[in-house]
């Protein structure tokens, strides 16, 4: 009975509404916004942030990509299109003659980067890629290389000059580094 009376009293005095209004007023008086004024201030990205994709180069400027198509196979959204061909004059080496990425479809899962055997793909920390024409998001090889150049200014050494235990292939046999026994 007392409980019922109490509930009735709460109903007619709008007790629950008053509690809610007290909560909002408390937030108004102790004003501590959590908003980040985005274009003026940007959040710190986590270390493993997966942003725009890029093609990378070695320190002497040659492309890392060997045109193996594994990224194309790994991609779940069919973003990547690789047209592979032989390096002119070096029949044992291959490279990506054309390389397209349709970034409108990319979901930034990073599977292509994992799939790449020569670490030719990288995920940069760029994310401001809004454009007015979505055709601008169909990126070609020079564009992807440019993104890689500006995001990874420090490049790796050529494969044959690296530590011999690093995985490698598609290196002409004459350049094959001697393996330590």
């Amino acid at each position: 009975m007392a409980m019922k009376f109490k509930a009735w009293l709460k109903t007619i005095t709008f007790y629950e509404i008053l509690v809610g209004m007290k909560a909002t007023l408390k937030h108004l008086l102790h004003y501590r916004p959590i908003t980040l004024q985005y274009p003026h201030e940007k959040r710190t990205l986590p270390d493993s942030y997966r942003g725009m994709l890029a093609l990378l180069r070695y320190d002497d400027g040659t492309e890392k990509c060997v045109g193996c198509d594994l990224c194309e196979a790994a991609c779940p959204s069919r973003v990547i299109r690789v047209i592979s061909s032989e390096v002119p004059g070096e029949p044992t080496k291959r490279y990506a003659k054309e390389y397209y990425m349709d970034m409108t479809r990319c979901l930034f899962c990073g599977l292509c980067v994992d799939a790449c055997p020569v670490d030719a793909l990288g995920m940069t920390r760029e994310y401001e890629w809004a454009v007015y024409d979505k055709r601008q998001l169909l990126l070609s090889k020079p564009q992807l290389l440019a993104i890689g150049d500006r995001s990874f200014p420090v490049r790796e050494k050529r494969l044959e000059l690296q530590h011999p235990n690093v995985a490698f292939f598609n290196v002409a046999f004459k350049f094959m580094p001697p393996k330590e026994s």
């Binding site: 809610g20 909002t24 007023l25 004003y31 916004p33």
Partner: protein, 357 residues
């Protein structure tokens, strides 16, 4: 002839000033609402246009002014154009009888004027109720003429809601009218002079506190504000009755909504909270020996009451979720209406036992 000319000129000047103040307040309210609700929800609100976003209303107004004016295919063009005007005009015209300050008379060229009320109609409150009802037509016609299911549903909801809650507004006011013995807003406010214990919300024979609560809730519902914003429920009806409106026509509906908010706040201040009267007898400036400038304090008191009431609107919007439609109707007819009727009964008995001397 000269007398008539002066009268017309003075009235036009008064109308212009009130119109300007109301529209400026609407501009300010659009910003204040966004800011207050943002602060209550730990956000910042508009921050880009001008320092701390204070020029946002001007930017919004300019944007709406230059927007394309779209009339949807299959819409009734005449009614579609008429509806925003029909919503806006009644909202603004109600300010004609609101007393913004003391009932002074100023003599100019030998003719007496009342500077703080455009026209002291002796049925003032009835006039406002009549015109706010016409405002409902604007909403219904706007919803119907748009040739869109969302607009039609919003218009229907608005019709049902405004009509059922208007009844409660009217009945809540009746208690005050019984105590004051007048329909003129100026006379009602004058009857509440001399301290806050004379305000009708606390007044002696029977405090109108229940009527005030009923009035506040019904006023929120009548102006289609959260938690009674079913006619424009954005999660169900896109934007309700003004889904298809764009540009200045949308702006008309928007201004009408905010002008209605100001109007119901003015009525609440005048009827229940003593209007221009300070919560203590007389005025501070009058006690200090400048009775000619007492009107400044009284106008400030009126504005303060109105703004407190407007803040309540924002506060409710930041706090409460939307009601379901059947809850809204049940609350209006089964809870508010009996309370208002009971209040009238008790007030009339109290007014009969303790007649005004």
């Amino acid at each position: 002839m000269f007398e008539l000319g002066v009268k017309v000129a003075f009235s036009l000047a008064q109308i212009g000033v009130v119109f300007g103040i109301v529209l400026l307040t609407v501009m300010f309210l659009t910003l204040a609402e966004r800011k207050v609700i943002a602060w209550m929800q730990d956000r910042m609100g508009p921050m880009e246009v001008g320092p701390y976003g204070i020029l946002q209303p001007i930017a919004d107004g300019l944007k709406l002014f230059f927007k394309e004016d779209i009339v949807p295919a299959g819409a009734n063009r005449f009614l579609f154009s008429l509806a925003p005007i029909l919503a806006l005009v009644p909202a603004l015209i109600g300010f004609a009888v609101i007393p913004f300050g003391p009932n002074l008379t100023v003599e100019l060229f030998g003719i007496q004027f009342k500077p703080f009320v455009i026209s002291d109609v002796n049925i003032g409150i009835l006039y406002i109720l009549a015109f706010t009802s016409i405002g409902a037509y604007g909403i219904i016609l706007g919803g119907w003429a748009s040739n869109s299911k969302y607009s039609l549903l919003g218009g229907l909801r608005a019709a049902a809601q405004v009509i059922s809650y208007e009844l409660n507004v009217g009945l809540a006011i009746v208690g005050v009218l019984l105590l004051a013995g007048s329909l003129s807003l100026v006379k009602i406010t004058e009857a509440q002079a001399g301290g806050f214990w004379h305000w009708y919300i606390f007044a002696f024979p029977f405090p109108q506190i229940f009527a005030f609560v009923v009035y506040v809730i019904s006023a929120v519902a009548e102006t289609n504000r959260v938690p009674f914003d079913l006619p424009e429920a954005e999660s169900e009806l896109v934007a309700g009755f003004f889904t298809e409106y764009s540009g200045m026509r949308f702006a008309f509906f928007f201004i009408a909504e905010y002008a209605n908010m100001i109007l119901v706040s003015c009525i609440a201040a005048a009827l229940f909270l003593g209007g221009w009267n300070a919560p203590y007898p007389g005025t501070l400036i009058g006690h200090l020996g400048f009775p000619h400038f007492a009107w400044i304090e009284q106008v400030v008191w009126f504005a303060a009451k109105v703004y407190c009431f407007l803040f309540l609107f924002f506060w409710l919007r930041a706090t409460l979720p939307r009601l379901r439609y059947d809850q809204l109707m049940r609350f209006g007819w089964k809870v508010m209406l009996p309370i208002a009727l009971g209040n009238i009964l008790v007030t009339s008995i109290a007014a009969y036992l303790f007649p005004k001397s």
